[in-house]
Structure formats: structure tokens, C-alpha cells
């Protein structure tokens, strides 16, 4: 790794509540989990389109909003976005087909039948104009998005990247366990902002990612637990080596604090 890469901010929307750098905020009594997230929990001003977003897009937007608010460095002209979305646009595709069957295909749902639609929503609302990448490849998607983000910074394409890692299962996905058996059942979203500039927080965390290819198919690791271990280490302000085993590779994220 040529230059150091730092974690500027993070957020997570999980079954137990919303995490940011101040810790965990549990869901309100009228909320079951991530699928019930409200605009006012992630954005402090009205946003007409929030209710329109598909669950995946809403989770990605919410996680992005929380991270961008907390980050001390946001260069919107140059910031990249890397999205790892395990189910791709599967839910939206199912919802669109339902409207086709009803005889009135929905234009707005059709326009979101792209795995990258979450990037569009975030980029347009927050005015982010840097390079973007998307990976929709089951459980590996999150860690691949992480790797793509680090590559963008290392190769000088940008000095900061917003990473979004999303899993969403909507009620329309009755057959998802049959079609995509390795997809986690929980809805969740993680967001990380990586920068090449050391953030003004103490401790700052330098991040390194090691990927080791393997020749045989291995059991998948749990993406949610993997990234949860990451944010727990940051919240506890401790160094960590977070190891994951994916389909065809192993990963290790090394977190090292700098005062």
C-alpha cells in the first residue's frame, strides 16, 4: 500500500438499531427494524422523495446520510461511491413485474430496476460527483465494494470514497431463499467513508485490506457480522484484524489507531 488510508466516518443500520460514532440508538417502539427507518432519523430536513425509495435504496441513502453528516472531510466534487448490494435489484424487479401483471407498469419502479440505483439517489441528493462502482454478487458484494474503494484511492482516482454495503429483503421476495440461497435474511446497511487525508478525530484509524485468493470454493462468511466486528472495534477504539472467508478468497481488514 503506497499511502495510508483512513476511516473518516461510519454508520450502520441493523436489526438492533442505528450505529454511528456515538454508538447504538435502538429503534423506536413503533419500529421493528431497518425496514421501518424514518427520514427524521437520518436527515434533519424534509426530503420529498424519501418515501419513494425502494428498501435497498432507502437503507443505502440513510447510511450515506449519517456518514456524510459525521465525516470531517467531504469533497463532493471528487468523492467516489462504491456500492456492494448482495441482492442487486431483485426486490425492485419483483415489484415491477407485479405492476406489469396488474396491467399498469410503474415507470418509477422501472427506473429503479438497476442495482446501481442506490448510487444515483445518493449522488444526486448529496451532489457527489466522483467515480463510482457497484458490485452485486451475493455475500461477497460488501467486501468487494470495500476493495474497489481502496483501489480507487490507491490508484489516485479520488481522495475519498463513500462505501455502501446493503442487504435488503422486501416482503415481495417470497422466493428469494430459493433463487439466492446465500443471501442473509436480515435487512442491513453499512456505510464507511475512507479518505487519503488523516481525519481530525482521535484516535484516527488507518485501514489496510489484504485479499488472498483461494483455489477452492469455501463456505461464505457472514457479511453482517464481519462489518459489525469492524464498527465495534472502532467504537471500542481498539486495533483489530478482521478476517473473513468468502467464496473464492479470504480477506483481512487491519485497523490501526493513530492518536
Amino acid at each position: 500500500m503506497k499511502n495510508k488510508i483512513y476511516l473518516s466516518s461510519f454508520s450502520a443500520i441493523l436489526e438492533e438499531g442505528i450505529y454511528d460514532d456515538s454508538g447504538l440508538k435502538n429503534w423506536d417502539k413503533d419500529q421493528i427494524g431497518p425496514q421501518d427507518i424514518k427520514r427524521e432519523q437520518v436527515l434533519n430536513k424534509p426530503y420529498l422523495n424519501f418515501g419513494k425509495l425502494s428498501l435497498a435504496d432507502k437503507l443505502a441513502f440513510s447510511a450515506a446520510s449519517l456518514s456524510l453528516t459525521k465525516s470531517d472531510y467531504v469533497n463532493k466534487e471528487n468523492m467516489g461511491i462504491c456500492l456492494g448490494i448482495s441482492t442487486g435489484s431483485f426486490s425492485t424487479d419483483c415489484r415491477y413485474i407485479e405492476t406489469v401483471i396488474s396491467g399498469f407498469p410503474s415507470p418509477s419502479i422501472f427506473s429503479a430496476t438497476l442495482p446501481s440505483s442506490s448510487i444515483t439517489d445518493v449522488a444526486i441528493y448529496f451532489g457527489i460527483k466522483g467515480p463510482n462502482r457497484v458490485c452485486a454478487n451475493g455475500l461477497d458484494s460488501g467486501i468487494t465494494a470495500f476493495e474497489l474503494a481502496i483501489n480507487l484511492i490507491e490508484f489516485g482516482k479520488t481522495d475519498s470514497v463513500l462505501i455502501l454495503i446493503v442487504n435488503s429483503i422486501e416482503s415481495v421476495d417470497k422466493n428469494i431463499p430459493l433463487i439466492l440461497p446465500e443471501i442473509p435474511k436480515n435487512n442491513f446497511a453499512f456505510s464507511f467513508i475512507l479518505t487519503s487525508k488523516k481525519p481530525h478525530i482521535s484516535p484516527a484509524f488507518a485501514i489496510e485490506l489484504k485479499i488472498k485468493k483461494t483455489n477452492k470454493l469455501m463456505n461464505n462468511d457472514n457479511a453482517e457480522l464481519y462489518f459489525k466486528e469492524f464498527i465495534n472495534s472502532v467504537l471500542l477504539k481498539k486495533d483489530a484484524n478482521i478476517k473473513g472467508v468468502w467464496k473464492t478468497f479470504e480477506s483481512e481488514i487491519i485497523l490501526k489507531k493513530e492518536e
Binding site: Y47, K52, F104
Partner: protein
């Protein structure tokens, strides 16, 4: 007419899943697209589907569309005129 205007406002909010807005927040005479309510081209397509699905009315061309979506009142007028014609 006023009942139809209120119903349309409720249908617009429900169909487009607009957040943070109530029927009384929508100005009856303000443009629906761009300035005013701030809807985009995809929203307009969704409203065309609403017109056809709920009222059995189509918008034949772009110029008529510009007129129809110039405000909620214009939309209500268009529905009323075309419903009457069909009767």
C-alpha cells in the same frame, strides 16, 4: 370541484409516496413539475398511469400534458371535462 382537488392531492401523495407533505401543503395553483411541487419526469409518467388507472383518461400529446400538469386545478379540470365528455 374542491372535493376532486382534495382527492387528487391525496392520490398524488399516495401514488408518488411523497414524504413530509400533506394535502394542505400542496398549492392548488402551483406547477406540479419542476418549481412548485418539484415533481420530475418519472413522477409525471406515474401520474399518467394514475389518470388512466383511476379515471380511464389518457393524455394524447405533449402539449396537452403541459397544460394538464400545470397545476392540481388544471389536472382536476381536465379530469372533469373528459369524464363529462365520456358520459
Amino acid at each position: 370541484m374542491e372535493d376532486l382537488i382534495l382527492k387528487l392531492k391525496e392520490q398524488i401523495i399516495k401514488t408518488l409516496k411523497l414524504s413530509d407533505i400533506k394535502p394542505e401543503d400542496i398549492n392548488t395553483d402551483a406547477p406540479l413539475i419542476g418549481s412548485g411541487l418539484g415533481l420530475d419526469s418519472i413522477d409525471t409518467l406515474e401520474l399518467l398511469v394514475l389518470l388512466e388507472k383511476e379515471y380511464g383518461i389518457t393524455v394524447p400529446d405533449v402539449n396537452t400534458g403541459r397544460q394538464v400538469f400545470s397545476s392540481v386545478r388544471a389536472l382536476a379540470n381536465y379530469i372533469q371535462q373528459n369524464t363529462v365528455k365520456e358520459k
